[in-house]
Amino acid sequence: MSDLLRAEGIGKRYGGVHALRGASLALAAGEAHALVGENGAGKSTLAKILAGSVRPDAGRILIDGKAAPIRNPLEAQRQGIGIIYQELDLFPHLTIGENMVIGNLSFREAAWVDFRKVDAFCRPFLERVGLRRGPREMVAELPIGQAQLVALARALSMRARAILMDEPTSSLGEDAAERLFGTIRELKQGGVSIVYVSHKMDEIFRVCDRATVLRDGETVGTVEVPTTTPGALVRMMVGGADELRADWQSARAAVDNRRADYQSAPLLSVRGLTTRKLRDVSFELGAGEVLGIAGLVGAGRSELGAALFGMDRATGGEIRLRGVPVEVRSPAAAMRHGIGLLPEDRKLQGLMMDMSVLENGAMASLPRMSRLGFLSTERERAALLPLYRQLALRCASFSAPVGWLSGGNQQKALLGRWLLVNPDVLFLDDPARGIDVGAKQDVYRMIAELAAAGKGVMLASSELPELLRCADRILVLADGRAAATYTAAEATPERIMAAATGARS
């Protein structure tokens, strides 16, 4: 079989974490090839390696059957590989034409820019992707769907024979997505191959000829799309479900033992919540309940937290606390109502890295830690040290900058901030992300203790095993909507992934 592009045994490590180990992909000429997998399976990393923006640690890449090391984006361009990133890499304040010729090896650039030459160069490619815009228009003035077409035209103008598209529909409306599918079909007929990175089942089954499934950085297999089903693809993505199940079922025993009767009166009740990123989300949370929030990247997990915590303005819907409707316009208002949020990115959104562990812990409770505006260090120590002991936070000194701690201990310092605030409803956004195994266990234990104390805990996570072991119920989000809710007894990795990818069968 004559493959246009072959990647074999690709490996990539970030620190001690394997993003890819032994991933492979074979792309035939003129096909649309889906690259699918769960969050963190390595899809984007593999795409970036093929596009030359990330260098692999192991493996080899063949083009037309010949070894072709791709060390940087320019070499990828020479080999005829183009990429369209999810976050488009265009210069918004340059024109369409300027964007297309910058760094373009197929365009001979003189020191003096000849705009007529640029126009003439760009026009055929803009026509080919069906963009009715002049080359001298600013990219910043285009809607996102048209900007994506500019990126596509640029890739074609670089004589790309294989174009990688990373989640191309994630920011497109339905019309724009529809047009994109049409363009992809035309490109295929013209002999251009597409690698379609996505986890949306309906799109894959409409657009793609074959699909390669990645799991934990490894290629599980490649299937012909017409002869498979969404369910079968999801099973390949989720993988060895049996061992997974054994693992979380043993851990769950402790969770099931507490069994508070939280169903009787919901602590938090959300009806039709709508924001920029959420559409008509409804659910209830009981006191003493852990509600898992599942969903793929971009499904709206963090956005749900942001809406409940007053970071995103709600444009519709109702939030009730103990049956009373509340308006949450700011984080301070959320905290007054007893809602807390542990944000997803502790470096960007959570901690003041140069400030001490204690100062960070007290940050959301300053009025309580002070008298007449003067802070009491004794009060801070007395309030925070027991909490940090409970969390098993380890540090040389509580007065040392929190930035000196390990990731797990940083997360505990931030968790301590919210334990001190002690809200009735706590939204934990991926609290175990990027921390070591021991710290993860401490975080899980804390979640169970919070629930046992009658708090309502929402746990958003990209890790299914984590949700399955900690949550009493799991709300699955897809595309900003509530796709399904499962009780702990009903939830399985297959069901959750099927709901999250829209492959309900």
Binding site: P331, M335, M355, A364, L366, F374
Partner: protein, 321 residues
């Protein structure tokens, strides 16, 4: 960590002082002029105005901002206090008249600062641009109010003369600086407000997620900066015996230099009042040393330039260790 930084600043100050002693000219009685009590207190008096302004500048820079308008605010305040003192006073007593003029000028500075803060926090315009604009605008206001003429005070026996005589005394000026420095030291290191200032500069996004009142803190910080510049303007008027709408040019740069030499990070979040006081003293001793040595004032500026870059370079090194 903070202790280490302060002690390094103190060592730099000690180095400058030792150098000043070493190269100081010698008086006829064999003593070193630099070490004479009169000279040392002169240094303190000379740094007091920039010192007071740099206290507010420290808070501003800690939030990640900058205040370029303080020099113009000082000019506005000197003009206003002189205008207030030379105007007929209907009431009885010098004291009330003086208080009215001083409070009015100082509060006008605070108001100018609050306007800065409101534009920065409310309209979300960059501090550099807002305070660049008010630097120009406030200077214009001061010149317009005075018809661009100095208002002389301190001659004869009227209230203005009494004011100038009282507020140009060395001990009083130094005491004002010392008292304000102590107040701001406590404000920054011991109060909720001070911690919020540092938290916002360290990570404003995280401050939002922690529910801190970011807007309010920023408005107060710029208002305090204006208030201090306003009060410095009052002392300037007394010291120079005139209200001068062209006073205070480039004071903002001296204040920023003192803050930065004192180890406060220009991006915000890290720094202290103690550091700023040390930075102000380093600048003051350096100026005095060069003047005692009869160094050309233009050369003095060049030496200062080198010192600023060296001070910041040394701090960068330390941070990377």
């Amino acid at each position: 960590m903070r202790k280490l930084r302060d002690s390094q600043g103190l060592m730099a100050l000690a180095g400058v002082v030792l150098l000043a002693i070493a190269i100081s000219p010698v008086a006829s009685d064999g003593s070193r002029i630099f070490l004479q009590m009169g000279n040392l207190t002169d240094i303190l008096r000379q740094i007091s105005l920039i010192g007071i302004i740099s206290l507010g500048m420290t808070l501003v820079i800690l939030t990640g901002g900058i205040d370029l308008s303080v020099g113009s605010t000082l000019a506005l305040s000197t003009s206003l206090v002189a205008m207030g003192l030379t105007r007929a006073w209907p009431g009885a007593g010098y004291a009330a008249h003086m208080l009215y003029a001083i409070a009015g000028a100082t509060l006008a500075g605070g108001l100018a600062g609050a306007v800065n803060g409101a534009a920065i926090a409310g309209l979300e315009i960059q501090p550099f641009i807002v305070t660049l604009a008010t630097m120009i605008g406030i200077r214009g206001l001061a010149k317009w109010l005075t018809n661009n003429a100095n208002i002389d005070i301190g001659f004869g026996g009227d209230v203005a003369a009494r004011f100038a005589a009282a507020f140009r005394q060395k001990p009083l000026v130094i005491a004002c600086y010392a008292a304000l420095a102590a107040v701001f030291w406590v404000l920054l290191s011991r109060t909720v407000f001070g911690r919020q200032v540092r938290a916002i500069g360290d990570n404003e996004t995280a401050a939002r997620y922690a529910g801190l009142p970011i807007r309010r803190v920023k408005i107060v910080v710029y208002a305090l900066s204006g208030l201090l510049a306003g009060f410095a303007g009052v002392l300037y008027a007394a010291g120079n015996q005139q209200g001068n709408p062209n006073a205070g040019v480039a004071y903002e740069l001296d204040a920023i230099a003192a803050v930065v030499i004192g180890g406060t990070r220009l991006a915000g979040g890290k720094g202290s009042i103690a550091g700023t006081i040390v930075g102000t003293l380093i600048m003051g001793v350096l100026t005095n040393m060069l003047r005692l040595g009869n160094v050309d004032s233009n050369v003095e500026m060049m030496v200062k330039a080198v010192i600023i870059v060296l001070a910041v370079a040394v701090q960068r090194q330390r941070r990377m260790d």
